[in-house]
Symmetry: C2
Subunit: 277 residues, 2 copies
């Protein structure tokens, strides 16, 4: 792979990925210190103001994002930061390319507060036009998924998606049906779901990493924020998968996403989603 | 705790739990050798004969159950064995109490084949009238949950359920809505689900262990087999939780189950289930 037009060159992407690893290392102790702690220790708040669905925030999220923001600011003061807990700080005007760190300190907070080790720390690197590199770190299981110019790896071992030419043989994951916003979206999801081998809910970022690992064939989701998806895009693509929005466009802005390990399956599923929606 | 009428005394239960640990140790390498392996290595079959839902069986399930059956037969030839893959071998006539080992070598096979570490090896010990002790072993994360006469533990550390007096503060887990058999069961599940703080799918045995850990408040499921639940009953009870069928009766036979960390919440949920069903 080579430099994208006006984008980040591969050596710089590798440098930033190494730095992303130090961010995850620094955040790990904060996050694990709160994992499976008593509810009172978590300083749980409900961001949803009493409306459903419950949207928990924890001291772990905030502490992890704070330390990562501080480290990025010290090392790359011209870079932008987009994080779940503390908003958007744009890259300095004129910086070329305008790099932004896209951070979800704990993707899968409900799994986190339930003690289930399928949440992840997401750190994505965006060069102003696309997500070029990213890390998903699961510190309880000791798993670090990396995607970037050298493909995708899990703890250094290369990952490859698997072929799945027939949708009736495919597995489909989705965090929760409630992430679809209306009946049209649900109908489109169900149109795919009704044709697969099996469909499971509940994984957040972990599903995309298992897709990159060649163990899951499809992930279809909705209502995503940019920080939910940008770190995962290079992991899926680096392993040979395809990830887009439901129209086949760039997935970086969040919203509706569809990932497939097999490019032909991705194309087929796009057609189903768009004829049903 | 003391001996139940005509049941297993505590010292014997402790001895069997230690042996259950050696069974899990022996099965671990077989199972982990197949975890995240290529699909072809798994010798996947579909037990459902083409009908939905997909019911995968793997070489890991069969290999793990075979070695456990052999070890039990050599050490306790009079004991019965009820396993998912190889059926029921009753305890020898006249054995007192008639001990049966109730085994699901991989509970959560779909998670297993998807690479998701929330499956478990379940080994329950039934004394002819109830599940008196059990182990849930998750070898990838290195977690062993034990329940029996000395309460419940995770890797030796005591587990306690948490109080949750108000259902609007409760978390609810269920493996999948498809495990409910008809509209009445679904309506009863939804009647509870609509009142909780949040509801998630997808965990199999792991949800009961997180409930014992005090991190989840409710697990409500259906279509369970005896080997899906018997190892988990002593873990939930040993941590201070309550687990029954939907009528408040013994959960050992499977079918519909409801587990709660807080006994008062369990009673309240039973009332909701039975007024809705």
């Amino acid at each position: 792979m080579s430099q994208s037009p006006a984008g980040l060159d591969d050596d710089r992407a590798r440098e930033y990925l190494r730095f992303a690893g130090t961010l995850a290392d620094a955040a790990k102790d904060i996050v694990l210190g709160h994992f499976r702690a008593n509810s009172a220790d978590l300083a749980l708040e409900d961001k949803s103001d009493g409306t459903r669905p419950f949207d928990p925030v924890t001291a772990a999220d905030r502490g992890a994002e704070e330390i990562m923001r501080r480290m990025i600011g010290e090392t790359y003061p011209d870079h932008g930061i987009l994080g779940e807990e503390f908003g958007n700080q744009p890259a300095a005007p004129g910086s070329t390319p305008p790099v932004t760190w896209v951070i979800d300190p704990i993707d899968g907070t409900k799994s986190f507060i339930s003690g289930v080790p399928t949440w992840g720390m997401l750190i994505g690197i965006n060069d102003g036009s696309r997500a070029v590199a990213g890390i998903m770190d699961q510190p309880y299981t000791g798993e670090r998924f990396i995607g970037g110019p050298d493909g995708a790896t899990l703890n250094g071992r290369p990952l490859h998606t698997r072929a799945c030419g027939d949708i009736s043989q495919a597995s489909l994951y989705c965090t929760d049906r409630s992430m679809f916003e209306d009946d049209r979206q649900l109908a489109a999801f169900d149109a795919v779901s009704s044709q697969v081998s099996y469909r499971r809910f509940g994984l957040d970022c972990y599903a995309y990493c298992m897709l990159a690992h060649g163990l899951i064939d499809l992930v279809i989701e909705g209502s995503l924020k940019p920080f939910d998806i940008q770190a995962l895009v290079p992991i899926v693509r680096g392993a040979g998968g395809v990830i887009t929005d439901w129209k086949g466009g760039p997935p970086e802005n969040g919203g509706l996403a569809v990932a497939a390990g097999d490019p032909a399956l991705h194309q087929h599923v796009l057609e189903i989603l768009n004829s049903a929606a």
